[in-house]
């Protein structure tokens, strides 16, 4: 027997509460500078002048980032990686915001910000260590001002805010970007980060990639208002930007970072985009979403629209596109070969860096392990 609960009658939203659907739909307030057809449009609040050179550089970034991501996905299928979280569809949000940063700025990523890492000049191979299972981080965050990937949803937004509080204390004009997802917006940590950033007027930009899904949960499970409007309750501005428009993402993030670095406090940027692929290689999206939805978003592809623009304006000729394609091939090869030749780690890495100094218990267990491992030497297994 199946027992349904009796609470159904209360399901309807109370009057005055916006309908759930509005949270997920692209409302008219979306900032856009490049239409899906590749038409350049102006926005009064976010003027942007880009040289043809810069446009081509952005195109190159988008293509290479997508190529790297596709390569990682296929390396996972071949068993070279244990898992991969693809950024497919989110290239513009990441490249636009990543290129808005200055060298002294600092990014705090989730686990999907491969495009931001690219802009911060982090070696793509470094990103793969964690997914291959050879390390739990794999780079020095301070080398490129790109923090380690954070898997625990939302935690990094507080770290970003604390880092920004430090910038204020130091009196420099650096700024911070905290990346997070639509799902993460529900976490206590994220809401606490908003509070701290607001009351300390910290130079941090909260960059939410609303890719419409948190694994199988649509954004409507997280919110009844558009996410960018959350900011107003915390006392700082929120902006919704077309996340598949690299120019709009660049302009809005640059504006937000400049505002932050000049002492005007945090901003929430909601990049309205779409997760074109599965959540990770372990996920099966056919169980929870319609392929028509994915198809509809294909028409808004971030790379195609910039390509259309370059072509229309005569800013990229065949030679240019061929050159980017060749570079992309080279990158793919480097990633493939790099991953395959990654050495398997020595198990004693377990005992490395647990503490800053020698620690008696760790030392003892390391010695025990080494003696135990040595007892097998010469044995056939």
């Amino acid at each position: 027997m199946t027992v349904k609960s009796t609470t159904r009658a209360r399901k309807k939203a109370a009057p005055g509460v916006p309908d759930k659907a509005s949270a997920g739909s692209a409302a008219p307030e979306l900032v856009q500078l490049l239409t899906p057809e590749g038409e350049r449009v102006e926005h009064p609040d976010y003027p942007l002048t880009v040289t043809p050179e810069e446009l081509r550089a952005l195109y190159r970034d988008l293509v290479l980032v997508r190529r790297f991501d596709a390569e990682a996905t296929s390396l996972q299928r071949q068993g070279e990686l244990g898992l991969w979280a693809s950024l497919l569809g989110q290239e513009a949000a990441q490249v636009g915001s990543g290129r808005a940063m200055r060298p002294g700025d600092y990014a705090f990523p989730t686990y999907r910000e491969h495009g931001v890492a690219w802009c911060r000049d982090v070696d793509p191979l470094n990103l793969l260590g964690m997914f291959r299972g050879v390390n739990n981080g794999g780079w020095d965050p301070n080398e490129k001002n790109f923090h380690l990937y954070t898997i625990v949803i939302g935690a990094q937004t507080l770290h970003a805010t604390g880092y920004a509080m430090g910038i204020t204390k130091d009196g420099t004009d650096d700024a911070v970007i905290a990346y997070f997802g639509d799902g993460a917006s529900s976490q206590g940590d994220v809401n606490e980060a908003f509070t701290f950033a607001s009351v300390y007027n910290s130079p941090v930009v909260f960059f939410c990639q609303n890719n419409q899904w948190a694994i199988s949960e649509p954004t409507t499970v997280q919110t009844r208002i558009p996410l960018y409007r959350r900011a107003s309750g915390f006392g700082f501005p929120g902006v919704r930007v077309d996340g598949n428009d690299v120019l709009a993402c660049l302009a809005v993030t640059r504006w937000a970072l400049d505002r932050a670095r000049t002492g005007q406090g945090p901003v929430l940027v909601e990049a309205f985009t779409y997760r074109m692929g599965a959540h990770t290689t372990s996920d099966d999206p056919t169980r929870y979403r319609q392929s028509e939805e994915t198809e509809a978003w294909k028409a808004k592809d971030p790379i195609l629209r910039l390509k259309a623009h370059l072509e229309k304006e005569g800013l990229g000729d065949e030679a240019f596109f061929a050159e980017v394609e060749a570079e992309s091939e080279k990158l793919g090869l480097r990633v493939r070969e790099g991953v395959r030749s990654m050495p398997d780690p020595d198990p004693t890495l377990i005992f490395d860096h647990v503490y800053t100094e020698q620690h008696p218990l760790v030392d003892e267990e390391r010695a025990e392990y080494e003696a135990y491992a040595a007892s097998f030497e010469g044995e056939q297994h």
Partner: protein
């Protein structure tokens, strides 16, 4: 319920039965609806019982736990799914400061029949935060019951018993064993908090729970070839612990080895060794030894086999115990 069921399917059946038997039972968690949970433990339940009873929640573990407590106050019997072990920590305050203490603080006037299901432990080649064994934190907290099944039968019946319990139960599911199959019998056979001797022996007692029971059974099998008869006890309940069963076993064998994935330092093995030594001192031929994880963060997956106790490490401890 004849036939072989995977642990995952046995758990799914237990949830289904619990939803059928008590209209106040509700399931809460991330991705437990259409997706059926990342391990498919809730597969098909939202379709059959509706989204009022099988609720996809916002992505916030403290929120899930805190509202489960509120639902319990209102007379519901929430069964919460935490997606992976490493993601229970945002809910830790609600569990240890609120859930565990509410009954005592209200002088017994309110009950907290909340079950917290957590896939735990390593061995699946996952990225970090997906392989943790945090049972000691929960077992250390008075007011919580903590259990972990090792096979399909127990998975089914212990989950039903946990849900029926009027106390909060932390239900630790051995995720690397989800696909192991076994018979699920027609009745539970044991109360929730009893241990079970899964293999009788005379030379030493291996004490394990959850994912390590299988490792210990394999070790005992291998030891048999060397003429050693190892007893294996499946603890099943981590709080309370069925000490009488363990004492009886140790008094017969004189040697005990506790095996868990969690770090040895201040792990459950420490409590077991200390208390069993107090109670069986004159019967012991050797100190009670422990095999477990190291005092280090759970390592990247390519070296996790080194971190996790395996047959060789268990037999190495058996050798050491027998050498006394």
């Amino acid at each position: 319920m004849a036939g072989q069921l995977s642990i995952a399917k046995a758990l799914n059946g237990a949830l289904r039965k619990s939803l059928e038997n008590d209209p106040k039972t509700v399931l809460m968690g991330e991705d437990i609806g259409k997706l059926g949970g990342v391990f498919r433990i809730t597969d098909g339940l939202q379709k059959d019982f509706g989204d009022d009873r099988v609720m996809d929640t916002p992505l916030a573990e403290s929120g899930i736990m805190g509202t489960a407590i509120g639902l319990a106050l209102r007379g519901y019997r929430p069964v919460v799914e935490i997606q992976f072990d490493g993601f229970v920590y945002p809910a830790f305050d609600q569990i240890v400061s609120q859930l565990a203490k509410m009954h005592a603080r209200a002088l017994g006037h309110v009950k907290m029949p909340v079950t917290v299901r957590i896939p735990f432990g390593g061995g699946i080649g996952a990225v970090e935060h997906h392989s943790e064994s945090h049972e000691a934190y929960f077992a250390h907290t008075a007011g919580l019951r903590v259990v972990s099944p090792s096979n399909a039968h127990d998975a089914h019946w212990m989950l039903r018993q946990a849900i029926e319990s009027d106390d909060p139960v932390i239900f630790l599911e051995p995720k690397r064993r989800y696909w192991d199959k076994g018979e699920v019998g027609e009745d539970p056979m044991l109360p929730l908090h009893s241990a079970r001797i899964v293999r009788p022996g005379t030379d030493a007692t291996l004490i394990a729970y959850g994912p390590m029971v299988k490792v210990c059974q394999e070790a005992a099998q291998a030891a048999e070839e060397d003429g050693r008869h190892l007893e294996v006890v499946d603890l099943r309940s981590l709080s309370p612990i069925d000490f009488p069963t363990l004492e009886e076993s140790l008094k017969r064998t004189g040697r005990g080895i506790v095996v868990h994935e969690a770090p040895v330092f201040l792990g459950l093995g420490a409590e077991l060794a200390a208390r069993l030594t107090e109670r069986c001192f004159y019967h012991l031929e050797a100190p009670i030894l422990r095999v477990g994880g190291y005092h280090a963060p759970y390592p990247p997956s390519r070296v996790e086999e080194t971190y996790l106790p395996d047959l060789d490490r268990v037999l190495d401890a058996v050798d050491r115990a027998l050498a006394y």
